[in-house]
Amino acid sequence: MLDGDQKIINSAISGKASAFGLLYDKYHAQIYRFIYLKVSHREEAEDLTHQVFLNAWQNIKKYEFKGFPFSSWLYQIARNQVIDHYRTKKSNIDIEDIKEIKNDDDTLDNQVNRNYEIEKVKNVIQNLNPEHQDIIIMKFVEELTSQEISKILNKPQSTIRVIQHRAVKNLRNMLKKENKNGQKKQIK
């Protein structure tokens, strides 16, 4: 974490709303993405992300820098929020949410293909267990280090590597099945 971030965090801890606003701008998208890939519903992801940052703002005085980025603490809050959400509600896969994933630089065909692939992977991630989901998203989507993931999940790095290996294997197998199903549908 940069020294600049630490100063901003200290200002936020002391109660400066503008400082927390800067932290919000920096980490909001990745927390939202993390939650969205887990719950697969835009409105629910928005609500949960809002709750995560609200909790963070209200409890920022409890935050202590221990050599890890501020995002690690946010990810922990986000994970707990999603777990609580799973307890009360069943998440539904919302295929219509594909609309928001755009890239204006691509041609229409590329855009459609990309959207299709993303939707496929999103559905597959949905079928993984929560722990595998966390590692796949943090490692391959958000590109966090094993050390950060270990801190967030509160597990030793060796355990994280084992879980990651199993998660990737499951993901690959599911993607293969999805591809086969897709090809069968095309033949029909």
Binding site: A17, F20, D25, E46, T49, K122
Partner: protein, 179 residues
Amino acid sequence: MTEKNLQILKNLKSIKPDRGYAERSKMLILATPQNSREKVSYFNNFFELLRFSVALGLGSFLIIGLLGGISYINKNFSPLGLEGLNQKSLSVEAEDINHSIQITMEEIKYLDQTNQKVIRTMNEVSKNKPIYSNVSSTISADIESSSTEDISAFLIKDPALNLNNATGTIDEMLDKLAN
């Protein structure tokens, strides 16, 4: 993990929240006050506890005092507390009056019965001894007479019975007349 799949996973990074929602959410969050310091302050907790205990004690004392005051006022100043209006004493007095009335009624009844007996006796006497018939009529007519002169009118004037020489009591004379 194949390169293709890795690339697809990286493409997921293009997922972004709606800008409008993000701005609104940020404003709401920053407008919310922070929680006060949650560090446990035993000193503050002690004061809170003390304050609560004092408030509880004062409240209890007030309630007890209020109840006691109401009870005292009710006992001493309530209209129902006056001796004359005390329900119990009133009922006792009423019973006493009832009893005395009953006694008086019994006495009156007794006196009436006695009076009736005397009248009957006198009537019988007058039937048996015609010369004394004026006695019963005089008695029944003038029951209220009580003076000595009037009494002498009731005396039996039987020539056989010389009152001047009478040595016995009136009862003996009446007995003789009855015989």
